[in-house]
């Protein structure tokens, strides 16, 4: 089993980081483990305060973990005896605030990592490598400009060029897109992914934005309250969430709590909830009589005027439209079902009036039945590791 790890670019094992705060001790990162493979784009996704940035900063060497082991290319950079300083870890990092040095030109910013290195390259080589890096991020020819004269998007690219110029072992990205406006963010998403694949650099990406995580990553680790809840491909975490938290955090979902009434041999299950029985796919160790959650993504909910028109008759509930919000490509409907409100994302051409009686359909293949007890993710749960 050990041999497998030698191929890992990065290995984090049992990482714990505690902070001393006024009220006592806050556990920011609570015993997490994961590995990155060579060339992989790996994302830590979670709400703010979940410990994802602390984890990244621990790998960078900017934070000293409380305990655990961090190895880069098989070399321990942190354990209870070793602490390799950030400057010697050979990493590239892009900060959320870009951290572009305002007193230097674009060229000087990018040249800095080469100029401070122990075996400083020749002037000519520095020049050619800086220009190469600037070309890569599409800033060719802007070297002499003052760094502060660049636009936000350009500063972002400058920061990326600086991180890549000394050909680091891996690239760390700390919410690099969150300061950009919506349009630029969308464009930078694809550009960043293209550059990453072009040079094949192992990348650890930290974000709270599930669209960024899903669209860019090879694998995603979903974090909550210092723990990893699930690791998997974007499709896995979206369609087969390991916990109620993951189901809710990724893509948003209608969630109905209840108790498990039946578990079938084919894996399907039934939950009794306060709006009635819901049938769906059972996931991860359900037990009869135990608390569970039925979850369905907003875009998987169907609304029909005539119950007989439903494509899947397993879950059909009577409801009344409360509100419809048209936003162009789609309409968000809030539908009252008993005491509850069901949200549904429908195509922009579907039309229901307020107070109109409708049938709410939860197609059985899209309903996930999850155990209520949220549990920490373990290696055994990662399909890639089995």
């Amino acid at each position: 089993m050990f041999l497998r790890f030698i191929d890992d670019m990065i290995s984090v094992a049992n990482l714990v980081k505690e902070f001393r705060v006024a009220e006592g001790i806050k556990v920011a990162v609570d015993d997490i483990s994961f590995q990155l493979k060579d060339g992989e784009f790996f994302t830590l996704l979670g709400p703010s305060g979940c410990g994802k940035t602390t984890t990244l900063r621990s790998i960078a060497g900017l934070e000293k973990p409380t305990s655990g082991v961090i190895s880069i290319e098989g070399r321990k950079v942190f354990d209870n005896k070793v602490l390799v300083p950030a400057a010697e870890r050979q990493l590239g990092m892009v900060f959320q605030s870009y951290a572009v040095w305002p007193h230097m030109s674009v060229f000087d910013n990018v040249a800095f990592p080469l100029q401070v290195s122990d075996n400083k390259p020749s002037k000519a080589e520095i020049r050619s490598r800086v220009e190469e890096a600037l070309e890569l991020v599409d800033l060719g020819g802007l070297g002499e400009r003052a760094a502060t004269k660049l636009s936000g998007g350009q500063q972002q690219r400058l920061s990326l060029a600086r991180a890549l110029v000394r050909r680091p072992k891996m690239l760390l990205l700390d919410e690099p897109l969150s300061n950009l406006d919506a349009k630029l963010r969308e464009r930078m998403r694809s550009e960043l992914r293209v550059i990453q694949q072009q040079i094949g650099i192992t990348t650890l990406f930290v974000t709270h934005d599930q669209i960024e995580a899903l669209s860019m990553s090879d694998r995603v680790a979903v974090m909550n309250a210092g723990k990893i809840e699930q690791v998997g491909s974007p499709r896995d975490v979206y369609h087969d969430p390991a916990s109620a938290f993951v189901a809710d955090f990724i893509g948003g979902a209608n969630m109905f709590e209840g108790t498990v009434e039946a578990v079938e041999p084919d894996g399907s299950a039934t939950v009794k909830t306060d709006i009635g029985r819901i049938h769906g796919r059972g996931l991860h160790g359900l037990e009869l009589g135990h608390a569970a959650v039925a979850s369905i993504h907003l875009e998987d909910v169907e609304l029909v005027k005539d119950p007989s028109a439903a494509t899947d008759r397993a879950n059909v509930l009577a409801g009344r439209v409360g509100l419809g919000l048209f936003n162009g490509p789609s309409v968000l409907y809030r539908v009252h079902v008993g005491e509850r409100v069901v949200e549904a994302h429908l195509g922009g051409h579907d039309l229901f009036a307020n107070d109109e009686d409708v049938s709410v359909v939860f197609p059985k293949r899209h309903v996930r039945i999850l155990s209520r007890e949220s549990k920490a993710w373990t290696f055994e749960d990662d399909p890639d590791m089995q």
Binding site: A13, G74, R75, K81, V82, A87, E88, A99, P102, P113
Partner: protein, 593 residues
Amino acid sequence: MTAVETPPVEVEPQPKERRRFRITGRGLYIGGTVALLLYLVAGPVGILIFSSFKRTEGALPFEAIAPYSLENYRDVFLSSSTYDVVWNTAIYAAGALFLSFTIAIALAWLVERTDIPLRNTIYTLVIAALGIPAVIAGISWGLLGNPRIGVVNVFLRFIFGADAPGAEGPFNVFSFWGMIFVQAITMVPVTFLLITGAFRAMDASLEEAAVVSGASFRQTVRKVSLPVLAPALLSALIYQLVTVVESFDIPLVIGLRSGISVLSTRVFIEAVPIGGLPNYGIASTFSILMLVVALGPLLYYNRIIARADRFGTVTGKDFRQKRYELGRAKPFALLGVFLYVLVALILPLLILVWTSLIPFYEVPSMAALERVSLDAFRNLNDSAFFTDALRNTIVVGLAVAVAAMLIGVLTAWIVVRTRTKWARAIDVLAYIPHAMPGVIIGTSVLLIYLRLREWIPVHGSVWIIVIALSTQYTSLSTRLMNGAISQIQVQLEEAAEVSGANQTQIFRKVLLPLIMPPFINGALLIFLLSIRNLTLALILQSPKSILLSVLIFFRWDAGQTEDTAAIGIVMLAITLAMSIALRRASAIGDATR
């Protein structure tokens, strides 16, 4: 398998050793800075407490013949003259604070919140008054406000036709009220600087919301403007309270001549008596009383500062604010400002120029005009005293500016950037000198280097003055650099670290260039404050280490008014130039931020 198993990588010895070296280096830096601060700050406090328990009539506190005793405390606290001095100090402080704040608030409001014309000029003139050292302001007003021959009095008597031979008044600057008046005038520029930012940054929409809600002008001021400005005003008030309690120049130049003692002059008289032997024990006991008086408000000030940050009145956001239209009150407002500038800047300058140009002081007149000459300046040029004092002053100013700012940067970096539990304690330690009045720092530094003269032979040289001034201005430089380093995003340093830069490279290539503008600004300010300081220079002076401020005081004390004025002009040329450079430097600093 479990996650505990990790690759069997051999522990490389190299990074381990480096780590140990690194931690030692960092520890050395923090430990060294703390040791330096303790030496500079805790040393003086310690020796004061020690000396206050020693009976020292004619002896030094650490000499064997001086016995331990509580007599100093009995003498100080059981004597009714002590309470007279404390009472004097309280009245003096209250009066000067009230007057200087009234003027400064009016000026700040006019400049920042109304449509008064010539705003920039007024701002520059108010700040330029910072370039008039208190000792010179005291001397100028001693000349202007002398009841018999003071120019202001002669002029007023002439206007009102009451000029008879031997007539006096209507003003007498050599009185309690005269002293308060001059002290208040000298405090206006700093008070103005302390509060003007809050006036400028206050969001006018807060007041507009009150007006729209139906509040009158007076209700708006009382219920919105003042409460919003309260933290800034209160913190400025307490800061200046410490200033006035420790103020020494004007009580010395004006107060002693009128027989009025405050705590600072009392300490001075005990430690550096005119004729007779110093009684360091009594001086130390008085110093401790004074320290207690100054420290209380300052601890409170610290708490206000912490709270003021949470108030967040200063948003730093750009917004255009509507200025209050003065309308028909405009000429009166301008007249008021002109009167202030006349009193604070123009009259003191003119009287110094006039006095320096005539051989013996007399009231300006056509007849006196014939006796005008540059003899006083020619004498200065020939006087070795003067050239030595000028050189000493420049050396001290430069040395203190560099030393205090370097200590400030090192301390501030620890306070702002390291998450050690000591950071807070170091911050407080660096802050104590602000609560230590100049006479106390002067007395204790004197005592320390008398004791250590065999090992650190600075007693009697300019370097003991440099040490004392650096101690005093460490609190200011730390405060300035705290602000400057907090403004620098920590990510800028972290980005350099991840890029492979070591601590020295980060400091040299990233941090230092970024804090250069406020660093230079702070150095200019401390240079200016050092050369206008009379307290420390006078207590620690020796024939070899006379500074300009001391020379001015000696000439004044000896009644050589024309020499006093001529040296004063030279000093003003330097200090006014510095205060204008400061204004430009801070404008540049603002622009780059």
